[in-house]
Amino acid sequence: MDSNHLPTNGELVHDAAFWWNVGVYMYVGRMGGNKGIEHMLTAWLDLRKQYGETCPDLWIVGGSPGEIDTVRQQVTFYESLFTLERQGHIRWWGYLDAKGVGALLLKALVLVMHSSYEPGGRVVLEAMSQGVPVIGTPHGFARDLVADGVNGFLVSYGDAEALSHRMSHFISQPLLSPSLGYAAKETARAALASWNFFGRHQDAYMTFGLTGGPPESKALDEPLNLIKNPLPQGLIGRFPFKERLPMMQMRPVSSKPIAARLSTMATFRRCLRRAVPLSGKRTRKRAALPSNIPTRYLPVVLSGTRPIPKRYIIL
């Protein structure tokens, strides 16, 4: 291969030295009708006709076997699809958990998300977090995070020709995916930091759970006429909470939260580590066992996965 010539993806396929660098187009999500799977397949088949063996494979993740079969039977070009499936160029992976999807994304050139509407579309965020660029429709996270030509591309729903054109960039420019992917990862990292998902929820619970909420939340007047129905007769007078059924009886005996209990155990373990060796010279510092550790934790700790060496004693 000429050293001044960047290999195209097709050349990479046939060069055994670069087999590991060959990526795939990837879709992750449900097999719903609004997900644009048929448009994506149309765009990919166009590319396949245009580029032949050079065209990267298509991996589709999600759905149960029945749902996948329904989608396959609905497309009008079923015959050509079937042939390419048998050759291994289209793979339907079915449902995979986060570890599985994360592993497959390592091979992805680009994630294709072609939904007619997405309130968020978390796969966009997941792919970008992993450094995979996205070709998406302008909804949800794709609309907020994807910048054309910077970390992916935006395509209008139903425009298979434009989608095919954007997908073709990744064939003709083998370094495009890592380049856009790097920017995608930075974008996702900044977005996650600014959202502070857990912190914002926690603040809301703290504010309204302890104070009872802002005044307007209690003014359930006119707009709620639509919502407010009287309680059924059988239920009136039963509240608040006269019945205590088995659900409560299954709660743990200790009312102390598990995290607090674990914290106590961590303190106890630290004390064990600082316990004085019998035969050693370091006998000046003696760690005292905190008095607030109940004795019922001892068997738990002593039978834990980390064995306590015999030469140590607890003082």
């Binding site: 449900r30 309130p119 997941e126 309204f208 359930l220």
Partner: protein, 235 residues
Amino acid sequence: MGVRQIFGELSISQSTMSSVKVVLICLHADPASPPGIGEGGGTHSYLCELQRLYDRMGMPHLLVTRRAAPASPEYERLSSLGELARIRIGSVGPLDKHQLDSHHAETVEQIHCTISKWDVPTVLHSVYWNSGRAAAQISCDLGIPYVHTVISNGWRRKITGFDDQSPTRFDVERAVYGNAARVFCICNQERQDLIEEYGVAPEKIEIVGRPVAPPYLKPCRDGYGVPRSVNVGRH
């Protein structure tokens, strides 16, 4: 990957949060269902993420959803602090989420009954509009606040071409968002819709986005930073 990397910095202590008891109502999504099959999607993952937060903060919580499969038990313990109750709305089996609204009275009755067996909640959290309607009603009955997570709004769906919605959805949504103590949405487009189309006060809206699971942040490493074996196809 450490717990701090997943959750970020949490500002309030666990002992303070343990007095907050949450009832999370999401009628159409069962957190035990995997995302990517059937109706399982982002909402299912969202419930799991909230449940992780509650456990992390030591908050007792009860998740209420609809029992959609006979094989699913009516009650499950999720953790030492978390419980999942599947209530019966209509017959046990699949039900289009857009039809849940027509079972409103039955839903409210069932949730009241479930809460009465649990504990006295301090805050309700509803996800999706028909759950919001139930939460608004229960909030009013019990005199406790509710917060609401939108996850797609009727107005946007309508202009995008979906015609499978309940005719009362827009009005119910307006009331639910208007009376919620706080409204969570996941992206800017949704926030804009809430302000312009539903008249929600901007200061009440929080864009919370979504967290990302550790396998996507460090796909080659496990939770301890050790290279992991990839188990695609073995679940």
